[in-house]
Symmetry: C2
Subunit: 182 residues, 2 copies
DNA sequence: TTCCTCATGTAATTCGTTACATGATTGC
DNA sequence: GCAATCATGTAACGAATTACATGAGGAA
């Protein structure tokens, strides 16, 4: 098994919708689910090979381009994927470098802390802006919410939007608190 | 340098407040900053040794118990710590196994998705409850917000509270959407 | 006497990222 | 002709978790 766990299921999940190449999978990660998941080639290709050896995926013909290696999920693969899907998601230990820094910042000057938070806020404002555009796009193009298909991309997006809004609100709250401090 | 980066600064940050043993550092992580940071012995002890060799921390006497190894930050250590503190925090690529599963759940039954989200919500309700208790505790014990000291623990806690509230609100929104679906 | 917390460490494994290496095709 | 994107892969490194190993001291 060697290379397993997360990447494994991310790949099976993508292939469960339609046959893809490793490159396609990377593209899917970067364009569609980037705000809550990421993969890199260094992991995708070895796992693809391992999954094939285990019989969870198989090569399919690709006429247009012989360099491409297109894979499809097998029945066995779908089984394992579904059983993973039904398990509760593992809790992942939180690690926020930003909050770590903030919690250690007693020796910094007020202004430094203020600009630290401001920078953090700006990052989330940008993110929120990106999410907003995606939301617009989904709403007009796919009719998103009405269809099942749409829901499963729209829901994580809404999560991102709410998280970003909440981070921004926190920044504003803290910027106020700092002014009141000492 | 070998073992470096994050753990390194987490340790320096704890020692920047007061001299500690490796065990104390672990305790601090588990009790005070657990909601946004975590460390384990397997990393703490080797890094402690490495930091001492680099002259960023040093052994201090511990009268009560000779088995204890208490370390303090040095001038050089404080310098490096502060320069890290002033750098902007690195963006960390998001990975939410829960959202990954949800985005792949088109083949699951409505009820399964509903209970998936309900479980997720319960986890956050519990977390929020824990944060609430911590907040109460901090407010009465330390006078939290008024003092500088308090602020730097209170601010990350507020972040946790807002995140949890936002996650719970998202769950409710999605539970509604699911009922409207199809 | 048994369990819990204190206390320190090593080894093995798994995981994730980055850098490296190569080359075809497409559009400007 | 050049840059961008398509396309596949390996190697090395860096980091994080888990398991293993040991033992003291105090409380119930």
């Amino acid at each position: 098994m060697s290379v397993k766990n997360k990447t494994r299921y991310a790949i099976l999940g993508v292939l469960n919708s339609s046959p893809c190449t490793g490159y396609d999978i990377k593209k899917y990660c970067d364009r569609i689910i980037a705000h809550f998941w990421n993969e890199n080639y260094g992991h995708i290709y070895p796992v693809l090979k391992a999954l094939q050896e285990e019989g969870l995926i198989e090569r399919v013909e690709e006429e247009t381009n012989d360099r491409k290696k297109k894979y499809a999920i097998t029945g066995k693969g779908r089984e394992e994927f579904l059983s993973w899907l039904k398990e509760p998601a593992h809790y992942q230990p939180a690690r926020s470098e930003f909050l770590l820094k903030l919690s250690f910042s007693k020796d910094l000057h007020k202004d430094e802390i203020r600009s630290m938070i401001l920078k953090y806020k700006e990052d989330y404002v940008k993110k929120l802006d990106g999410y907003g555009k995606m939301e617009e796009y989904m709403k007009q193009k796919e009719g998103a919410l009405e269809t099942q298909q749409g829901f499963f991309l729209y829901a994580p997006l809404r999560y991102g939007i709410r998280s970003a809004e909440s981070a921004i609100a926190w920044c504003d709250e803290m910027l106020n608190e700092i002014d009141l401090l000492k």
